[in-house]
Symmetry: C2
Subunit: 403 residues, 2 copies
């Protein structure tokens, strides 16, 4: 339990921590390995305000195209998520599949007693790009999962399990804000994690009273500072989706600043969990650039270092190879004075004024957490990127994914 943003973070809870939400996760048979693969998050209301942020990739999966359309209303009753297939690059038939899934969710919820339209249902998919989903299993699963919707904590945890692909652990967290209102969240993402949101699905819930516009502001602020700054392999997905739903069930209307802070805290914690469980990770790395001419410059430099294969392989080898850091910074299109750059690993200076520091080659990087800080000395701005090393495990996991 961590004290943050005026509240407490608990990783034992997720999307069903806030009042007014139910969720479930089941095995629908979409995954060949028999693990759970279908999740539903349901907003009981009384309010249905929602906001979403989606991948910047021009190649967008069918569920992204569908959910973007749905979100123009600023309202969501439910989110259905599947692992075991991305439904990306599947053309018009794939879009029809996403549409049919939403219709089936709406029909099942209506049968169950809550009148729902397909336009109130967002769809998220994750898995291999390029294959159609087994729609018979998806639709049967949707009919079944409505009956599994549980209040309480377990429904959220089941849902968090059902969206996992190469994730080894489910990722969820809830922020209890002074016992009065809450923000909960679940996420998946382990590879294809990069700038425009990382390859990830994330559903956030809150029982705060808030308009769609307020949710949108809080969500954009939070994703910009967290998921957008998580970069495992520079690869941006076709399916990235982050949704924020509010039920208003707490009857508390926090200020925009309070809402921003709470959503940011939940997203930050989920981003930390995703970094820690990234494909092949053996080092959790935070690259911080200080003294930049602008925040954008700091971000570009930090991302450049975080993506550099030679820096990442050196970190895998626990090698304090600061020269590769300088080479990566030097090619970044930013304001730079090579003779002012300083670098430190875990607080140990390895480069000062662009030249090696005494003892630089002996810095011990054998631990699992590496703090790589770069001081540019040309301004006052700063930014951080979370990343990981480039390991044999990453190569292994990604060299035989589809076959």
């Amino acid at each position: 339990m961590t004290e943050i943003a005026g509240g407490q973070l608990l990783r034992t809870q997720g999307v069903t921590a806030p009042a007014g939400f139910r969720a479930a996760g089941i095995t629908a048979g979409i995954k060949a390995n028999g693990k759970s693969d279908l999740a539903l998050v349901f907003n009981e209301g009384p309010e249905l305000a929602a906001a979403g942020v989606f991948t910047a990739n021009k190649v967008k999966a069918a569920p992204v195209l569908w959910s973007q359309q749905v979100l123009t209303t600023g309202r969501l009753r439910a989110v259905v998520l599947n692992s075991g297939g991305a439904n990306a690059c599947t053309g018009a038939p794939g879009f029809q599949d996403a549409h049919k899934t939403a219709e089936q969710v709406a029909a099942s919820l209506s049968d169950w007693g809550t009148e729902t339209g397909a336009i109130e249902v967002a769809v998220c998919s994750t898995g291999l790009i390029g294959d159609r989903l087994p729609m018979d299993k998806v639709l049967a699963g949707v009919t079944a999962i409505v009956h599994e919707l549980a209040g309480g904590i377990s429904g959220g945890t089941d849902a968090a399990h059902a969206v996992m692909t190469t994730d080894t652990v489910p990722k969820q967290v809830a922020l209890h804000h002074g016992g009065k209102w809450k923000v909960g969240g679940m996420a998946k993402g382990a590879g294809m994690l990069a700038p425009s949101l990382a390859t990830m699905l994330c559903v956030l819930t809150t029982d705060a009273v808030a308009t769609a516009e307020q949710l949108d502001e809080a969500l954009r602020h939070a994703t910009r500072m967290t998921f957008d700054r998580l970069d495992v392999d520079g690869a941006a997905s076709t399916n990235d989706t982050v949704l924020l739903l509010s039920s208003g069930a707490s009857n508390v209307a926090p200020s925009q600043d309070e809402l921003n802070a709470a959503v940011l805290a939940v997203c930050d914690d989920l981003a930390e969990q995703m970094m820690a469980d990234a494909e092949g990770v053996t080092k959790r790395v935070r690259v911080t650039v200080n003294g930049a001419a602008s925040e954008q410059d700091a971000l570009i430099a930090a991302r450049g270092v975080a993506r550099d294969s030679l820096v990442k392989t050196a970190l895998f080898g626990s090698d304090p190879n600061w020269g590769r850091v300088l080479a990566a910074v030097g090619i970044a299109p930013i304001t730079l004075d090579p003779d002012r750059i300083a670098v430190s690993f875990n607080g140990n200076p390895v480069c000062i004024d662009g030249v090696g520091a005494p003892g630089a080659r002996e810095v011990d990087l054998s631990g699992g957490d590496i703090d790589l800080t770069i001081e540019l000395g040309v301004g006052e701005h700063t930014a951080s990127i979370r990343t990981t090393d480039l390991s044999h495990g990453y190569v292994e996991e990604n060299s035989a994914y589809s076959s």
Copy 2:
């Protein structure tokens, strides 16, 4: 032997194939492993015209700063090259070391009978970034190597050996242009290979009669089409240097077009050799983008795919995972219609109009050469990037380089 650009390419010869050049490679003791590590290329004239292209990295090694200054004269008498240390990020003392090396080469050549100034001597270094060179060994080596300068082929081959770092084979080639004039070249480069020339050193020689301006045009044209389009790991070096020296000894003055074509052919062959010997390479990959709105768009898209860790690991696993190719293309900042993209591996269509083609998952990529072609269908422009897969070998080689 290959017929090209009006001549014949021979990989058994290099910088000493053109008349008027001598070269040598020796063990000066800079490398700890006792392999040869110092090379000298010497232009006997009668002409001394030269041109150079250098890394775009803002963090430039001392020898780059020195050689850029020297090249402003458009003249070169000699190039001294060392492996075993990059002399990068070594500050003012490192620059003094590069300067002293050039002075020692000039003094030794003058003693040997050819009056030479330090301003006529370019310096190139490659190896670990951040350490000073062992100058006692470098200077003693420079004194000794002048006496080893050999005409004929062996001197060039010895020089090509002496610049190797993680290269497993020396890289050289000579173009015999109708028996009348020649272009020779040698290069090193296996990792930290990327856009702004790839991390590489390359010395090209010709006995054609040409001005420094003509050489400069030929060199810029050739590097733009070859070394700039070789991208092993997206990492740009602090030491990239490509030099072109002419002796005029053939008394033949080719047209600019003939010179351009010959220099291009030699650079293209050396780039091919560098791709084939890249760190950890198990697949030699050519990514071609056709149908782009501009050549720049084609290049950006091809480079994006060539750098994508998920595409590269899939290719290592012989996995025709075309969805990752679409995800990589989709994030490129170019004109794009997702529904028009087609992809083929070695001529086998795997994606048509943005959707998987029948049999796409069964394409056999077990061979060592992969031709990955992407048709955007939005214009008439094309570009290719040479790259490699991302293998366990690459991770292994780069996770324990400095330690």
